[in-house]
């Protein structure tokens, strides 16, 4: 479907397609430019136009309803483009001069020959020679200008490369190319090429723009993707350096998608011509930038006005008082001199840009970081999420709820900067639709997960048989020190301490120290779990296989609770109560379990209250705070440090853990963060992830929507 317009061409009304008109106009313009130096150029153009008009009349007579692109192209081909008859020009000019000379002195054929070998004295202007260039045609242009051999100039340039490099660049920018004057020059623009596309024509469009082979941008887009596949194989536990990887590979895809959306498709012929138009070199880039700078200024101004209007609207709607103060302010502003008012306006504008810039930036960054944290969950997906709908919702949440607005905002910024006018609201609506779908996915995911965590099991107290309960000092250690390795990583998802191929170990082990009623150590264990029903929760709890055994004076605990993809993570947790008799000592290794705080869990798990409720030794159930790697002794009044001088604090009861631990000498040399701090930070990231989504995203997204819809 094309728009047809009527034009008055050589005194005739000609119906012509709009795009065909564009081509025709460009052609006539190029002719006019080409013949501008010629005597009687108007006449030449007129003659050519007359002939074109005649050909149009013939086409219309044959029964065509209007002149199409093809008609114009055919006519232009038969008439010839300026580039085609350029060689003529020089030749004919020299001929015209020959004629003059001939009329003066009657020379013969031999003379004619001689004269034609002499280069015609063209009007002296320095051009970069596009036809005979090595880099940018500067040398050839200089040689032409000074009428010396271009080899000489080139050799000079090569010898004095160091000194002449910058002058070369300056000349490159400053001197126009011969190409820019010959053909009716038009600005080259970046379009997507739909005719030569693999996916969206982005690469071929870029290739047209830079006049390079299509495969160069294609390969550039593919290389990171291939390396991404390589890296993916040891993606394993998501560690921090992988973010570099991340920015490269899906990054390429995201960039492609953004370019796909941001770059318009070359639909009409004039757009296609623009796409393939003039060669891009430093000159055209320079002029493009100059034009763009002017454009940006205008746009910035417009944007500022919008912001101001918006601010005024908001201000007006807040309260009546606000309005009166605003009017007062304006009257004050009016009263003050105009110059000062303008300065204030400018300052306000700068401030507004600043604020808007920060909001947009933080918005994108926060969304991105949420997306990254979410991506951090992915390797653990199988341990938490059921197959089927839950997985679908998870992907929906990740892609639609988080990445769609990121892409949307970036696209919007690009389009805003590039001043690309969208032809319809299609994109806006599709973004909103996708995002709404993302919201739905998120809500479904959260609700279905909530249901899966809905019920508790019935915890049973289990006695752990000790081989030698009468020892003086009980050391509690981990079965293996694999955590050592894990903890040295940049980033790890704390509660999932260790990942094998099909098993993840959750360090949800909580150790409580109480006073024993008799003179021997005793250890009790609670296995707790959540599930969609009580039966399921009980089943999951009974499946927890947590080994505890005593070896001499050491109590060895498993390093974590094994979670397999079949038995999902449903807040499985082990509570271990160690009863210490009065006068005996206990030391808990730094790798073992959590202390008196709750472990990692979603929603309501087993907690302090439950522990007290199910603990049978009600009279002795006062638990004591303890730190890792500190030796304690049980006294009649409670747990006391054996070496209180090592940490000059009052007592374990008033411990504020992180501070306390930092003072411990053995920890100061150890670069790994203290478990307490870590746990807190993890809680911040993970346990409140849902909250974050609900609050920050909501505010952030409403802001985004507001800006996007303008």
């Amino acid at each position: 479907m094309k728009k047809v317009i009527n034009i008055n061409f050589q005194g005739r009304v000609v119906p012509i397609e709009e795009t065909a008109y564009d081509i025709l106009k460009q052609y006539i313009d190029s002719l006019q430019q080409y013949f501008s130096a010629e005597e009687g150029n108007d006449e030449i153009i007129n003659d050519i136009e007359g002939r074109i008009a005649e050909l149009f009349a013939e086409t219309l007579k044959k029964g065509s309803t209007c002149i199409t692109d093809e008609d114009v192209d055919a006519i232009i081909n038969s008439m010839g483009r300026p580039a085609d008859f350029e060689a003529d020009e020089i030749n004919l000019q020299s001929k015209a001069e020959n004629e003059n000379r001939k009329s003066q002195s009657e020379s013969k054929g031999a003379g004619n020959e001689k004269e034609s070998t002499i280069p015609p004295p063209l009007n002296r202007r320095l051009f970069r020679d596009e036809n005979d260039k090595v880099v940018a045609g500067v040398c050839a242009g200089l040689a032409n200008y000074f009428n010396i051999d271009r080899v000489v100039v080139r050799v000079l340039f090569v010898i004095f490369f160091g000194a002449l490099f910058i002058p070369y660049l300056i000349l490159w920018v400053a001197v126009p190319s011969t190409a820019s004057t010959v053909i009716g020059s038009m600005r080259k623009r970046l379009y997507r090429d739909p005719e030569n596309s693999m996916i969206g024509g982005v690469c071929s469009g870029i290739a047209h723009y830079f006049n390079i082979n299509v495969w160069i941008p294609r390969v550039l887009f593919l290389i990171p993707f291939i390396s991404f596949l390589f890296r993916w194989t040891h993606f394993g536990p998501w560690n921090f350096p992988n973010i570099v990887n991340f920015s490269f590979s899906p990054g390429a895809t995201i960039i492609y998608i953004i370019l796909w959306i941001a770059i318009p498709e070359a639909k009409s012929t004039s757009e296609k011509l623009e796409m393939k138009g003039e060669k891009v070199d430093l000159n055209s880039i320079k002029s493009t930038i100059q034009q763009d700078m002017v454009g940006v200024k205008d746009r910035a101004k417009k944007f500022g006005e919008e912001v101001k209007e918006r601010a005024q609207e908001i201000g007006a709607s807040i309260s009546q008082r606000g309005r009166t103060t605003a009017s007062e302010a304006t009257t004050v502003a009016r009263r003050s001199s105009g110059g000062l008012g303008r300065v204030i306006v400018v300052l306000f504008k700068i401030f507004a840009y600043f604020i808007v810039g920060i909001i947009v930036f933080s918005l994108v960054v926060s969304l991105l970081s949420i997306g990254v944290v979410f991506a951090g969950f992915l390797p653990y997906k199988v341990y938490l999420i059921n197959d089927g709908w839950q997985t679908v919702f998870l992907w929906g949440t990740l892609l639609l709820f988080i990445w769609v607005p990121v892409i949307g905002i970036i696209t919007w910024i690009i389009r805003r900067i590039a001043n690309t006018k969208s032809h319809s609201n299609f994109m806006t609506y599709s973004f909103i639709a996708l995002w709404t779908l993302g919201w739905a996915c998120m809500i479904f995911l959260v609700s279905s997960l909530t249901k899966d965590f809905g019920s508790n099991n019935t915890p049973k107290e289990e006695m752990v048989q000790l081989v030698n309960p009468g020892v003086d000092k009980l050391e509690i250690k981990n079965a293996s020190n694999t955590n050592d390795f894990i903890r040295s990583r940049w980033w790890k998802f704390e509660p999932f301490a260790n990942v094998d191929d099909d098993t993840v170990f959750v360090k949800n082990i909580e150790i409580k120290v109480v006073k024993s009623t008799n003179d021997s150590f005793s250890v009790k264990m609670f296995r707790v779990s959540n599930g969609s029903s009580r039966a399921e929760a009980n089943a999951l709890a009974s499946k927890i296989n947590y080994p505890i055994y005593q070896k001499d004076s050491t109590l060895i605990l498993g390093s974590g609770i094994a979670i397999t993809p079949q038995e999902k993570f449903r807040n499985q947790e082990v509570y271990i109560t160690v009863a210490v008799p009065v006068g005996k000592r206990i030391i808990i290794d730094r790798y073992v379990g959590w202390d008196n705080n709750d472990g990692f869990h979603f929603g309501n798990g087993f907690d302090e209250y439950d522990w007290r409720k199910y603990n049978n030794n009600n009279d002795n159930s006062d638990e004591y705070d303890w730190d890792h790697n500190v030796e304690y002794i049980m006294t009649a009044s409670g747990l006391k440090r054996v070496h209180p001088d090592l940490n000059n604090n009052d007592g374990p009861d008033e411990n504020t853990m992180p501070q306390n631990n930092q003072r411990q000498p053995q920890d100061s040399t150890y670069r790994y963060q203290q478990p307490n701090q870590q746990k807190d930070s993890v809680k911040k990231i993970s346990a409140s992830a849902v909250e974050k989504e609900n609050t920050t995203i909501k505010t952030v997204s409403t802001l985004f929507m507001q800006r996007f819809l303008i």
């Binding site: 007579k61 008439m79 010839g80």
Partner: protein, 122 residues
């Protein structure tokens, strides 16, 4: 040396002469000139022809008259002036001279050249 460039130089050198030789026979419309030259296997773009005609006209060698057309705008028919006739005659004699010279040179058998070169040296 660029072969295409040499070829076009050769061709364009005689273009003017050829055009004049067509117009010499009487009033003619530019696109007819193109057709006639095409028939003689000498291709020319109309975009090249029009400026050439204008130049010749401005030099006083050609003149034109408007003829009403029923298939478009009025047409410009070109015809030769007396000055143009004289110019053509001069060109023709030059051409014959040139053509003769070229013919003898190109058709010269290798023996002749061989016999000629030693003569030069002696």
């Amino acid at each position: 040396m660029d072969i295409q460039n040499t070829q076009s130089q050769m061709r364009k050198g005689v273009l003017e002469f050829c055009i004049l030789s067509i117009i010499r026979h009487g009033e003619v419309y530019p696109s007819d000139i193109v057709e006639k030259m095409k028939a003689a296997n000498l291709h020319i773009l109309e975009g090249t022809l029009y400026p050439l005609l204008t130049r010749l006209k401005n030099a006083g060698l050609l003149t034109y008259r408007w003829v009403e057309s029923n298939s478009g705008p009025p047409r410009k028919y070109f015809l030769m002036t007396d000055e143009g006739m004289a110019f053509y005659a001069e060109l023709e004699s030059t051409w014959e001279e040139l053509a003769g010279a070229v013919k003898t040179l190109t058709e010269m058998s290798p023996e002749n050249i061989e016999t000629e070169t030693p003569n030069h040296n002696q």
